[in-house]
């Protein structure tokens, strides 16, 4: 097939994929609400920053006055390439319904289509706000041509980086296909790296803020001159224009030449990925995987869980969780809440480190107890409801089993981590106090989570951090964290003051503690009862 035809087909596929994405974003009310909340949050931030951008445009005299322009110009292609690579790994490495598309058009058209759609999505999410900022800056500068030149400079760069990012992502996917073990390891490594990045970025931000980092030296070291010259071409025809440099023109030529080359590489990689062996679901896989997927004997719940149906249910959830850990990918959301904690740990003195880590351990256990099994109970159980709801086992047993599974997972963490930090200087009394409070909070969090999870069930599988699974609603997860987080912190802080002798027993304190316990127990129990009611009255409507 000719290149022209493939480009035409590719653009048609890109348009279709983009339309599907837009319809997907707006297909459900909750997604629209989520988008509106995002718009409200980031839109207002953007709106408030526009006057400063306008003033910057009015006052700018040369490109060199733009803070860190060279560093940003170097970082932009790297970030765009990485973004395309990650998006390929997560989402666009394959086209949906490839049996249709690949028997209809050339793989090159599919690659063009996927990349086109991705560029359109990136333009929608990032391009619009960037365009608003650029337009405001342009208005301040009084040079309308800046918008046009920026487009002319940025679009080839975005195309080139996306194509090469795609090729890199597909190459990684091919590697994963050959070595599936590496993929599993990298997922764990990736999670740890993400957590480390969040924590380190906090320290980096602090050092940047207090001037400890030699920013100018760092910028001079990391800046790649030709890229800076190239992006400075955007200012041609404005008062900020630099003289043309040979490096800028050479960079432009390289970008233009590398894009089709990247497309060739990406097409070859993608064809190799799409058309080489993959044991289809309906056929037999390898003997090794069949062996790994088997298990000898019947379902035997260990003591002491074996005595009750709730224990059996809990053990069943734990066993399934171990065999299919991908269902817990939503737990990675915790990483994004580690930022403030990271700052605290970084800034804490050696004496404070032990208690902070002890409290963090109790908090982690609480999070796991609630978030692991509790945030989408109805969605998780629905495929089995025709069986579960028609057995003699009462709905309360099913819910109780789920709560118990969460506690069994979270409580050991909440108890053990504080005790371990005795080695880091936490007093034994504090460690025991944190551990006890942590275990109690695990019970409260697990009971609370099943209620809010049952209130807003999610049934559809979706791709989340590389795993296709039924993931709890992000809104539910956020609500859980915003309720359980502060509740746990209050309990732990009170415990800390209590065990260090900073709290005098007064009627006011007793009233406060009583109110706290009442709210914690009341909300958790009420939530638990609500979940039971949802199970009892569930219908397939």
């Amino acid at each position: 097939m000719s290149l022209r035809r493939d480009v035409r087909h590719g653009l048609r596929i890109g348009r279709a994929e983009f339309v599907r994405s837009i319809r997907g974003y707006t297909s459900e009310t909750r997604r629209v609400v989520g988008l509106l909340l995002l718009l409200l949050f980031f839109g207002s931030s953007l709106l408030f920053s526009l006057p400063a951008v306008y003033v910057a445009g009015r006052s700018a005299q040369s490109v060199t006055e733009i803070p860190l322009f060279g560093l940003v110009a170097t970082a932009v292609p790297a970030v765009l390439t990485l973004l395309a690579t990650f998006r390929t790994l997560e989402r666009i490495g394959r086209v949906e319904h490839e049996s249709l598309v690949l028997t209809t058009v050339h793989p090159r058209a599919v690659v063009i289509g996927l990349i086109t759609a991705e560029i359109a999505r990136i333009a929608l999410w990032f391009g619009l706000p960037i365009a608003v900022v650029a337009a405001t800056f342009t208005a301040g500068l009084g040079a309308p041509s800046l918008l046009l030149t920026t487009t002319v400079v940025v679009v080839p760069l975005a195309c080139c980086t996306t194509v090469w990012g795609y090729a890199a992502g597909v190459a990684v996917l091919r590697g994963f296909k050959r070595l599936p073990g590496v993929r599993r390891v990298l997922k764990v490594v990736g999670f740890v790296a993400m957590a480390a990045f969040v924590l380190v970025s906090q320290a980096f931000g602090r050092l940047l803020g207090d001037g400890s980092l030699p920013v100018d030296t760092l910028a001079a070291t990391l800046t790649f001159g030709p890229l800076t010259d190239y992006l400075a071409l955007a200012f041609v025809g404005t008062p900020l224009a630099r003289p043309f440099s040979a490096a800028a023109v050479a960079t432009f030529a390289a970008i233009v030449a590398l894009t089709p080359l990247g497309l060739v590489v990406a097409t070859r990689q993608a064809s190799a990925l799409w058309f080489t062996d993959r044991a289809p679901g309906g056929d037999r896989g390898s003997a090794a995987s069949a062996k790994a997927d088997g298990s000898a004997g019947g379902f035997s719940t260990p003591k002491p869980l074996a005595g009750t149906n709730g224990g059996n249910v809990a053990w069943g959830l734990l066993v399934r969780g171990v065999r299919h850990p991908q269902q817990f990918t939503h737990l990675v959301m915790l990483v994004f809440f580690l930022g403030p904690l990271g700052t605290t740990i970084v800034q804490s003195s050696a004496d404070g480190l032990g208690p902070i880590l002890a409290a963090s351990g109790a908090g982690l256990g609480t999070y796991l107890a609630g978030a692991t099994f509790g945030l989408n109970p109805v969605g998780d159980d629905r495929p089995q409801f025709p069986m579960l709801l028609l057995t003699a086992t009462a709905p309360r047993t099913l819910v109780r089993g789920r709560v118990l599974a969460g506690v069994l997972l979270g409580a050991p963490v909440a108890a053990a981590l504080p005790l371990v930090t005795v080695a880091l200087g936490t007093s034994p009394l504090s460690a025991v106090g944190f551990a006890l409070v942590g275990v109690c909070m695990c019970l409260a969090a697990a009971a609370f989570s099943v209620g809010i999870g049952a209130a807003y069930p999610i049934y559809e599988e979706r791709e989340f951090w590389g795993a296709t699974t039924v993931v709890p609603s992000t809104l539910v997860l956020m609500a859980f964290m915003f309720v359980v987080g502060p509740g746990t912190v209050i309990g732990l802080v009170a415990t800390w003051f209590g065990v260090t002798g900073h709290l005098a027993p007064t009627p006011l304190l007793a009233a406060g503690v009583g109110l706290y316990l009442l709210v914690t127990v009341g909300v958790s129990y009420g939530s638990y009862r609500y979940a039971i009611r949802r199970y009892r009255t569930y219908t397939f409507d």
């Binding site: 097939m1 048609r12 297909s27 050339h106 062996d277 309906g282 003997a287």
Partner: protein
């Protein structure tokens, strides 16, 4: 083993497919003349889907070769206009309406818009989908999805149509509609490669039958020939023959290794 036939619509020679040490296909050879409805039978896990993916160029055999309408399947650009493929899960986008989906595929097939519009209208009418053509596919029943996917697979008048369980899970009316359409496609001169477990469908429409078992074609011929080779007795059904040839004990009086 069938003899090589240059005029065959589907010509597969000694196909072998292995996943590591597990052999999914072991020396499968097929020669299907144009205009034939070929019923491809086999128990779960026999390798039927693997065979279909290889025949459509979506997967590569470990060894062996495939030609469709005289074209090597590795030349996908030339192959695409000649084949239609309806996999077991209908390849439809929930976010599109049936009309959008079919327009989209017509565009990708380079069918001129006037021709495509007329053909889509005609097929939607034939399958009773005109009233629902503008509804999103995500709201469709299984039968409606299957009918839409069937239309999609025949939109470009392919020379060879591969169907993987096209009537599975459909109500009798929808199943009959698909079955009738398979006959219509064959009457127009196209070849239909039909993989299914629903043996009455095969008995009703197939000119030839191949039975895949343990990665090998263990019986092939007209339905009557397969019944007689399976020693099921003169009154035996295709189901009896299928059970006989896919048991572990040798009961054949003649098979493809003859």
């Amino acid at each position: 083993m069938p003899s090589t036939n240059a005029d065959a619509a589907v010509e597969a020679t000694d196909l072998r497919k292995a996943y590591g040490s597990e052999v999914a296909l072991d020396g499968v050879s097929l020669s299907i003349p144009s205009g034939t409805v070929y019923g491809f039978l086999g128990p779960n896990g026999a390798g039927k889907t693997t065979t279909m993916r290889i025949l459509t160029g979506l997967s590569q055999p470990t060894s062996g070769s495939v030609r469709i309408c005289g074209l090597d399947v590795s030349d996908r650009g030339k192959l695409a206009p000649h084949v239609g493929y309806l996999p077991e899960t209908p390849p439809l986008y929930d976010e599109f309406s049936a009309r959008e989906q079919l327009d989209y595929v017509a565009d990708l097939r380079d069918i001129p818009s006037e021709t495509a519009e007329a053909r889509i209208d005609d097929l939607l009418d034939t399958f009773g989908l005109v009233g629902d053509a503008n509804k999103r596919i995500g709201t469709y029943s299984k039968g409606m999805k299957q009918k839409t996917a069937f239309i999609q697979s025949v939109l470009h008048d392919p020379d060879v149509l591969f169907l993987d369980e096209p009537t599975s899970g459909l109500d009798p009316r929808a199943a009959r509609q698909i079955r009738t359409s398979i006959g219509d496609v064959a009457d127009s001169g196209a070849t239909v490669f039909l993989s299914t477990h629903i043996l009455p469908v095969v008995e009703a429409v197939a000119d030839e039958v191949g039975v895949l078992f343990d990665g090998r074609v263990v019986a092939e011929g007209t339905p009557d020939e397969v019944k007689s080779r399976a020693q099921t007795g003169g009154e035996g059904s295709l189901e009896d023959a299928f059970l006989a040839v896919t048991s572990d004990e040798p009961q054949l009086s003649g098979a493809t290794d003859e």
